[in-house]
Amino acid sequence: MADASRRTGAPPGEPRLVGYLYVLPALLVFAAFLLWPILRAISLSFYEWDGLTQGTWVGADNYVAVVTDPTLRAPFLHALVLVVFFCVLPIAIGLALAALMSRVRLPGLGFFRTVIFLPQVVATVVVGIAWSAIYAPAGPLNDVLSALGLGGGTAWLGEEIWALPSVGLVGTWLFTGLCVVLFLAGLAKVPPELYEAARLDGAGPVREFLAVGLPALRGEIAVAAILTVIAALRTFDLVYVMTSGGPSNSTSVPSYEVYDRAFVEGEVGSAATVAVVLTALILAVSIGINRFAERDVT
């Protein structure tokens, strides 16, 4: 809370306006490469424009379409499904793995930590191509399944029910490592006395983690949630490489829709609208998670 009495009187020290001069260089760069494009996108979102001929002002029509047009609504719903795969699952798996790895003293723990984190280091396009090959109708996944007598020959990326979860699972694989490493670091700073106290009170391993480890990880969970939710909402590369939004648009996501509309279909206004809505959504979600994490624990 700012002190109310301070604001009424003249501020002490140098006149404040000079401060803006100091930030001016950075502000100019920010304005030219971020602020101006954002404002331009907002202004474009009120037009129907094919990128070539004169655009026509359509008011809020594009925004209404995001809500009413099923082909525009669907990508946002798909993005929400991806949040489960990119955020909820990795955090859950990450918590379990971190709890295990912090308790068990395995030889070569560093090696496992590296392996789990490795997907984060590989370029997403490479990840997408590799997983496309794994999911192929005659690919390794189907080979394994048919060897186990569980069928096979399923076109994982070619059937509407499977395509989105298939892409989502790649996200789970990608972000679990990030979560594990974050949570391990968080658990390492918990004072051992707390665990000792819990144990003396008769808590088992699960109870011990829930009572001591989990609360200590509040901050890390928030960071992981923000990073993964943003990644889920703005997924583009995985979808572009693995499915191009197909089959039958069952994996189209907002970012892909922005690209498709702006550069393929020539609906720049509508593309800008999706971009603006997506930006607002990501901002709102990030602020929400931040609020939740910073709320007083007591």
Partner: protein, 455 residues
């Protein structure tokens, strides 16, 4: 964490800035009239040598090896003939070219010559925006009307407002031809004891025999969606009269998708999918691996374009053959096809006359000979007698299709959104999640909403 600026004031200022920018920024885009600058035949300057030093920037997508070399050679011979001209060639893949051209064509340093895809979403949009020049004056001056058949010219023709495709002014000239037909493995056909299918009934028998023998009847990878347009077109060619398909492709008002003939075509192709005549899991299988599997001896047929000629011939030699689609009950031939991407002249070029001379050069009879020798299908003047193996099949098919006026345009040309719709719909139809009649009804709805239902 409350900031020292009250939130309401912050919001008000932001809103004001946004409103001000939105209101002050004028409508995006230029308000050029459609059509582009016309040059009358009498005003065409064909004396390139007398134009002084100039540079022509050419954007093309001829990146595959045969075509790439062929165009390099033609550029070099043009520069040799006119030492005052420098050609600045910018080559990109088909997809990259389509994505970047839209942004580049109305900028100050737009290229002089561009390869623009025929359909409404690229060439049609450019014509509507007045970014391409009509070439009719040049066509008169250089005699292009004799050079290119009416079918070929119609595929690069639009009215000035870009609204009608297939008629009006000429906006581009192509180098190569293209047909979607039936690639087959001769040794597989021999093993199965079947002839190259010439009728719908033959095709059905061939597919049954292939499936019974445990072969993949048709190699098919449709993850990208667009291959499905070709396979559907191949079946449609056997039922729907060529004239009707042409109208549907060009988006002519009054045409309809919900006809009994289209229904027969949709029924047949979905029964192919049901009977397992396509590669298992085709909707999750990529296009390239599919024809590559065929080239490696897995599969009896591939329904694809003549653009695979060089690759298939290299991999399979004389074992691969190419045939036009079978004919249906009418016995009338129809085949999906067209031309390679036409070369067009941009509105913003300062050297339109030199650019036209360049177009004339790269589509000259000598150029066609080079294209055939490079293993491709020249848009005119092909000499099947000089070719052998699969190239002879392709050249013959092209000659026959042109002579019979049997070439019908790609179905996705119809409306700007038709490509996206058709790819998804064919995937649904073949996956069995959409019935043939619902499939056609969905296409009809988009089609009539664009062309106007009346007719």
């Amino acid at each position: 964490m409350t900031s020292s600026i009250p939130r309401t004031r912050f919001l008000a200022v932001t809103a004001a800035i946004v409103l001000a920018t939105t209101a002050s920024a004028c409508a995006p885009g230029s308000d050029d009239e459609g059509g582009g600058t016309d040059t009358a035949a009498a005003d065409v300057d064909t004396d390139v040598a007398g134009m002084g030093d100039l540079t022509l920037t050419v954007w093309d997508q001829e990146v595959r090896s045969g075509q790439d070399k062929q165009l390099d050679a033609l550029n070099a011979s043009f520069e040799k003939e006119y030492p005052n001209v420098t050609i600045d060639r910018v080559s990109r893949s088909f997809e990259d070219l389509n994505r970047t051209l839209r942004l580049a064509i109305n900028s100050d340093d737009a290229p002089d010559v561009v390869q623009a895809n025929n359909g409404r979403s690229i060439m049609g949009a450019f014509v509507e925006a007045g970014q391409l020049r009509p070439l009719d004056g040049y066509a008169d001056a250089y005699g292009w009307d004799e050079r290119f058949s009416a079918d070929v010219r119609s595929l690069a023709s639009y009215t000035e407002d870009g609204a009608t495709f297939g008629a009006g002014n000429l906006y581009g000239v192509p180098q190569t031809g293209e047909l979607v037909g039936l690639w087959y493995s001769k040794s597989k056909l021999d093993d199965l004891g079947i002839e190259v299918p010439r009728t719908t009934a033959d095709m059905e028998t061939a597919l049954q025999k292939a499936a019974a023998a445990g072969e993949v009847p048709i190699q098919f990878g449709n993850k990208e969606g667009w291959p499905g347009i070709h396979d559907f077109g191949f079946v449609q060619n056997q039922f729907v009269p060529a004239e009707e398909i042409r109208d549907l492709g060009f988006g002519v008002a009054g045409s309809s998708w919900t006809t009994p003939e289209n229904e027969q075509a949709a029924d047949l192709i979905s029964s192919w999918a049901e009977s397992g005549y396509f590669t298992e899991g085709f909707n999750g299988f990529d296009y390239d691996p599919a024809w590559q599997d065929f080239a490696e001896g897995d599969g009896v047929f591939v329904i694809a374009g003549t653009w695979l000629l060089a690759d298939l011939a290299a991999a399979m030699g004389d074992d691969v053959g190419f045939a036009l689609p079978p004919t249906g009950e009418s016995g009338e031939m129809a085949v999906t096809g067209g031309t390679g991407l036409p070369f067009a002249i941009t509105e913003s070029t300062e050297n339109a006359d030199a650019a036209a001379a360049y177009l004339d050069h790269i589509t000259s009879p000598d150029a066609m000979t080079d294209i055939q020798e490079a293993g491709n299908l020249p848009v005119y003047g092909a000499d099947a007698a000089l070719a052998e193996g699969p190239q002879a099949d392709v050249l013959e098919a092209w000659g026959a299709a042109n002579a019979q006026g049997a070439i019908v345009p790609y179905l996705d040309y119809a409306t700007p959104d038709f490509y996206d719709l058709l790819t998804a719909q064919v995937q649904d139809l073949l996956a069995g999640s959409q019935s043939p009649s619902d499939f056609l009804a969905t296409l009809e709805k988009e089609y009539t909403s664009f062309t106007g239902s009346g007719g």
